[in-house]
Symmetry: C2
Subunit: 212 residues, 2 copies
Amino acid sequence: MLQLLAHAGADHTPVVLTSRELGERLGVSQQAASRYLLDLERRELVVRTLANRRQRLHLTPPAMELLRGEYRDYRRIFEGPGRTTISGEVTSGLGEGRYYLSQPGYVVQFTERLGYAPFPGTLNVRLRPSEARRLAVVRDWNGVRVDGFEAGGRTFGGATCYLALLNGRRSHLIRPDRSHYQDVIEFVAPERLRTRLHLKDGDPVKANLEER
Amino acid sequence: MLQLLAHAGADHTPVVLTSRELGERLGVSQQAASRYLLDLERRELVVRTLANRRQRLHLTPPAMELLRGEYRDYRRIFEGPGRTTISGEVTSGLGEGRYYLSQPGYVVQFTERLGYAPFPGTLNVRLRPSEARRLAVVRDWNGVRVDGFEAGGRTFGGATCYLALLNGRRSHLIRPDRSHYQDVIEFVAPERLRTRLHLKDGDPVKANLEER
DNA sequence: ATTACTAATCATCGAGTAG
DNA sequence: TCTACTCGATGATTAGTAA
């Protein structure tokens, strides 16, 4: 149903579609289509405006995210896992990485889903604009999800992690859902990369990114 | 289930997966997973070899075609409809187009699904190798299907049609499932293109192909 | 351990119909 | 017309268990 609505354009503009039409295209009855819509509405995947007997439908961002996830899965089958290289130079952050990676809410998730306890701090890498553009494709990859949570009266956002070999060392690129910077990216690893790789600000680094 | 198997690599090599594992990953019981497999096997989408209690699974070509169709649908949502231009020069076929397009089995399907009664004959266009390569992407598009059938003791293969503007005229590129040539493509239209466009062998033509 | 049958349960569907 | 309710039938799922 979501796929059908997306094809009809409900991803970018409200679309008028009767439940009878939807039912026909889905091969189910009008009643079933109506129920599906109610269900999707309840799950906040579809927003409906009922103007005198005609419903206008449009898809919410979570619905598009869901469809994009499916798209990613199918693309992985036919195009294979994504792979790219990105290079930049080491830079200093504002100590935010250390702060976030000391939050238990993040630590348990990183440990469970990445398979290692993260060193409490991130390595910041500044990208040149051309490199930043190459990073855009990573958005369409299937990464390891880290969910947002609330703690101590504030909310911590979610992120997606992508396996990386940073100068040959196992690490993960972290992409926060709400990213502030575009030219600085952060890596997390089981060890302090700066020490292990003898890096200082301005040193060039190269990361091999792999999907999954 | 098919998607899951494809991800596990069952598209190119047999994979050992218990029904318990499959059930877990699908969020259903072991019994249900077993039933799904039996069903898929009956529909010839999965081939199973049961070696002493361990089943090895692999996906059949029809299953991959089914998944590819899904992939196409999702890609259309996020990448938009495909569009390309292809050029070549008019050539003479062997009169096969006329023969095929006089088969009622094809005529009714073309008429219903393309929206016009096809002129009984195709326009053949010879491509240079560089152009032929650009045609490869069309394989991943969603086209109009024309199914194969049997008539008069022989079988006629299926094909996929793609909307084209050939020198501005509405027509369809025909891609037979079992294509013999790679450098010659065929177009069908409601009228005799050769006459309407005043074409003779060797004349250059340009086709704007659009998905859907 | 497996796969898969049977029986009971449960969810889903469409017909009829109300608003 | 439209959406969406109730309800009986149909279908699917799981638990228990056999092979």
